[in-house]
């Protein structure tokens, strides 16, 4: 019986799911082209000019990312991300606000429509007038998450693979102007231009965790709500608030203790891709010294599971209001 409902729900979301998946794939391909331009032209030029002037890349980054530019540094993933390395550059797409926004819109949109949306439309009454337990309705939505979220994450990875295939090998090009001829003589490290698409697979559980966490807590709101737009508004507000708190916490020290209270603190796919590091610590609560470390994926999936549990507790006990 649950599968009948799962099939119906998948049928309902198949077009938007396909569109979102294609959008993510397309964005990753586009990002690969951005990476090609940065690594093939901009980075060699600026690094070369800096080297000739006796500066390092870090000096340029310090100038670019200082002051208001710090927000850019935060958005691309922090101090450890090197803009002259292909793997680092591609990994930026995984934390790009557009990708995170798409993930969150998907999760919030679907989960808010799952219970509150059906009640709002009045179709929940039709559904629950059949011999169908409310638990099964929620279980069907959980299955839809289990089936659709990996697809979205895979579409990001497929975009990475296609993008990497399109741009590799990355050719370094200097301006034709003879004034820059000296740049060509500077040593280059070809390993920085290598892309290993398989390593990006490690980001899939982290991305899935983020979507599931947002879906879970939105589902809890949805199970208690009556109007889809009200649930949607509240969920978007909470997601946005957490995103901003996490962003501000990275830029200004005084706000950093608030970061672990947001789901985005546990969304660190670059750590998984570049360093195979899966743990987050709570050093922000201990003056920068290491505190306890927890697996970020576990935290994200726990948030999602707790959200679903709260949704279940609420939904099986609540009255089903008549459609307006």
């Amino acid at each position: 019986m649950t599968w009948v409902l799962v099939r119906k729900l998948l049928r309902d979301i198949r077009v938007p799911l396909l569109v979102v998946a294609l959008l993510l794939t397309a964005f990753l391909c586009l990002w690969a082209k951005v990476t090609e331009r940065v690594l093939g032209e901009l980075a060699p030029f600026f690094n070369g000019v800096a080297a000739l002037g006796g500066f390092g890349q870090r000096d340029i980054e310090h100038i670019v990312f200082n002051g208001p530019g710090k927000i850019m540094r935060t958005v691309i993933g922090g101090d450890n991300i090197r803009t002259d390395r292909a793997m680092d550059m591609i990994s930026i797409a995984y934390v790009h606000p557009l990708v995170q926004t798409i993930f969150c819109i998907w999760a919030v949109g679907r989960a808010s429509g799952a219970i509150a949306g059906e009640i709002d439309r009045g179709t929940m009454e039709l559904l629950l007038s059949q011999p169908l337990a409310r638990t099964r309705v929620l279980l069907a939505h959980l299955w839809v998450d289990v089936l659709s979220i990996p697809l979205l994450c895979l579409s990001v990875w497929v975009g990475t693979c296609v993008g990497a295939w399109l741009i590799t090998p990355i050719e370094v090009r200097f301006p034709e102007d003879p004034r820059f001829a000296l740049l060509r003589t500077l040593p280059m490290d070809p390993s920085k231009l290598e892309i290993h698409p398989l390593r990006f697979l490690t980001a899939i559980p982290v991305m899935a965790g983020l979507i599931f966490a947002v879906s879970g807590f939105t589902m809890a709101l949805s199970a208690a709500g009556r109007f889809r737009w009200r649930v949607l508004g509240l969920a978007v507000f909470l997601v946005l608030l957490q995103f901003l708190v996490n962003l501000i916490g990275q830029m200004w020290e005084f706000a950093s203790p608030l970061r672990p209270l947001t789901i985005f603190y546990y969304y660190q796919p670059q750590q998984a891709i570049l360093n195979n590091h899966w743990l987050v610590d709570f050093s922000v609560w201990n003056g920068g010294k290491p505190l306890v470390e927890v697996p970020m994926v576990l935290v994200l999936f726990t948030i999602g599971a707790v959200g679903y549990l709260a949704a279940w507790i609420t939904f099986v006990r609540r009255d089903l209001p008549a459609p307006l």
């Binding site: 409902l5 009045g122 179709t123 009454e125 629950l128 059949q130 011999p131 008549a322 459609p323 307006l324």
Partner: protein, 292 residues
């Protein structure tokens, strides 16, 4: 074997407002029961409690001895429900919707679906989004009639149906009764309730104030007598109830044998006499609104 449907002191309150107050009734297989009452009298609340949409504040309801709230899935296995405020999945066609609901119920699509669709004049291939409200109601009616559940619950089923379709629906209710299905439905339209119901319950501000067996009602008469000058005092006949006595015009409800009443009337200065079957109207208006 117990009744098909049973409620005991079923109550639903919202804060200090009592939407349904101690409803106690039962329904046997093959019985058609009509719930009557104006808006806000608790009809829909009662039906929604039976469907397990609402949690009773106190009391309980059982369908085939399955508690409608705690064991709702098993209770609803025996029920097909037509909601009052109808909403269907707009992205499906009529056939897809009925097939989906049959799947959820664990049943195969009925062979007589097309036959029944033809009788209701529905194009099942049409997307529901393109259907009129009447058409949607017919599709919803199909999904109620097809599973042949022991109990059919309908909340104002004839809303938005044209007169022909209303007759067809009432015909289907009679057929359901013949098959041994029980039907519980709410309505504002007294005439249709009169046509098909075996019993009716009248709700007033959440309370079941009267249960009327239609067979006994059909034996009763509404008597209107107009006298030339004041009549004698009415005889103490069993089953006689005065509804109104204005000037020389007397309106009565009479459930007893006619001869004693006619005998008394013959001795009065009678100018005009009308005898009508005692319809639900007079009973209904006893609790709601004007006297006939």
């Amino acid at each position: 074997m117990g009744p098909l449907l049973r409620t005991e002191n079923l109550t639903k309150s919202y804060g200090s407002f009592c939407a349904l107050d101690n409803l106690t009734l039962s329904l046997e297989p093959g019985e058609v029961f009509g719930l009557l009452g104006p808006n806000g009298s608790g009809k829909t609340t009662a039906l929604r409690l039976l469907m397990g949409f609402l949690r009773p504040t106190s009391g309980g309801a059982w369908i085939k001895e399955h508690d409608c709230w705690h064991d709702g899935v098993r209770a609803r296995q025996h029920v097909a429900y037509l909601p009052g405020e109808l909403r269907l999945y707009e992205n499906m066609s009529g056939r897809q919707l009925i097939a989906f609901l049959c799947d959820v119920r664990g049943q195969t699509l009925a062979e007589n679906l097309d036959d029944l669709a033809g009788r209701f004049d529905i194009d099942l291939e049409l997307p529901i989004a393109q259907m009129s409200s009447g058409m949607k109601r017919k599709v919803a009616l199909l999904q109620v009639l097809i599973p042949h559940t022991p109990l059919v619950i309908m909340d104002e089923p004839t809303n938005t149906l044209d007169p022909n379709m209303r007759d067809e629906l009432l015909q289907q209710v009679r057929q359901a009764r013949r098959r041994g299905q029980a039907v519980l439905f709410s309505s504002h339209v007294l005439t249709e309730v009169e046509q098909v119901c075996d019993r009716v319950g009248i709700l007033q501000r959440g309370k079941l104030v009267h249960v009327q067996t239609m067979s006994s009602l059909r034996e009763g008469r509404l008597v209107r007598a107009h006298f030339n000058h004041p009549a004698d005092r009415l005889p103490p006949l069993p089953g006689l109830r005065v509804l109104s006595h204005v000037d020389n015009e007397l309106t009565m409800e009479y459930l007893g044998d006619l001869p004693p009443l006619l005998h008394w009337l013959a001795d009065q200065p009678l100018r005009e006499l009308r005898l009508e079957p005692l319809g639900l109207t007079s009973i209904y208006h006893r609790y709601h609104g004007v006297q006939p």
